[in-house]
Amino acid sequence: MGTVFDVAIVGYGPAGITAAIYAARKRLSVVLIGELPGGEVVNSGEIENWTGDGHTDGLTLAKKMVGHLDLHKDQVTVDQDLVAKVARGSGRQFEVMTRGDKTYTAKTVIYTAGRHPRPLGISGESEYKNKGVTYCATCDAPLFSGKDVVVIGGGNTGAEAVIMLQKIAKKIYFLHLEDQLRADPILVENFKNDPKVEIILNAKTTTVSGSMMVEAVTFEDVNTKATRDLKVQGVFVAIGAIPNTEPVKDLIPLDRFGAIEADRYGKTALDGFFAAGDVTNIRDAQIVVAAGHGCSAALSAGDYLSRMGAPEGI
């Protein structure tokens, strides 16, 4: 009989790390499995809405979170890997299987696997992925120095990409499908009067084209149906995100967006299975919200375990 953890946490972002800290402080035995220490926070660029830090950046904040988790390494085993599947084990236990072919058994699961960027689903997009098409401005923006680029998606992620690119690219087209940007005005103020940024509304991107690398993007004006080609070498896609729920799709019902329905305490339809952060149907995909939700999920898991009987150590 191998180790049975009190809690298996899936995900290494703010929700998972916060859940691990709270669980460790309750002296629960924890295994946390996640590929990227700090999760998508790492790719967040500048951050000005994490309480306590007027200004920070994703890498710094992720490092602080991981450092905080390290204080609890006596209680928390970390496996830096992706989870392939979560399933029911014997009795009320859960089995968490990793891509690296490890299986962890736990009495509860806190699932905080986050989201991944949504693709446009248009011609040329997958062909030119990493050949000019990118979903991570924070990662790849520095490679487009002096080039012409397009940012697709007028929300906060898109606006943040534009801001990042202002210092790097020569010309930035900012395309949005609707007649108004969705991004917070405080972000848009950074570039709305910048002559190198051209905001194009009502624009439906239809094709990415090129030869070896991206050379152009075509879009259609949703009102006039007129099409226009933009000669660009970079395409930054920022049209939202899809919950990383593939490993649990046979375990728990998902909503129509593929998210796990969890209440504010991280409880789901399945006893012993908790979820928190961006992978759930939570309204606000924000670091501070994910961290809070992770806390609640850990406290809920703790309550559940006390009702099951006294927690057992490793």
């Binding site: 590929e35 990227l36 220490p37 790719n43 923006a141 520095p142 490679l143």
Partner: protein
């Protein structure tokens, strides 16, 4: 004799950081090239890998180079002959 490891990165890329942490945790020495600041090296990376995503990790040298795009722990472990 361990194989030389070169990693093309940008300073802001999370998966680059994760790759470096992984290498450090396995005490693997590596040479880092910041393609965000070095345009010539950026072109070199694009020519070698045929793509623009970072990180690009090159394990070995000469005709024995293995090129890995992205933080692929399994491939990296296999290329370096270390446990994942």
């Amino acid at each position: 004799m361990s194989k030389p490891v070169t990693i093309y990165t940008t300073q802001t890329c999370g998966y680059c950081k994760a790759t470096k942490e992984f290498l450090k945790s396995h005490t693997v020495d590596y040479t880092e090239i910041d393609v965000g600041t070095d345009q010539a090296k950026a072109r070199e990376m694009i020519e070698k890998s045929g793509q623009m995503g970072v990180p690009v990790i090159v394990v070995g040298e000469g005709g024995q180079e293995e090129l890995i795009v992205g933080f692929d722990q399994k491939r990296l472990s296999a290329a370096l002959g270390i446990a994942a």
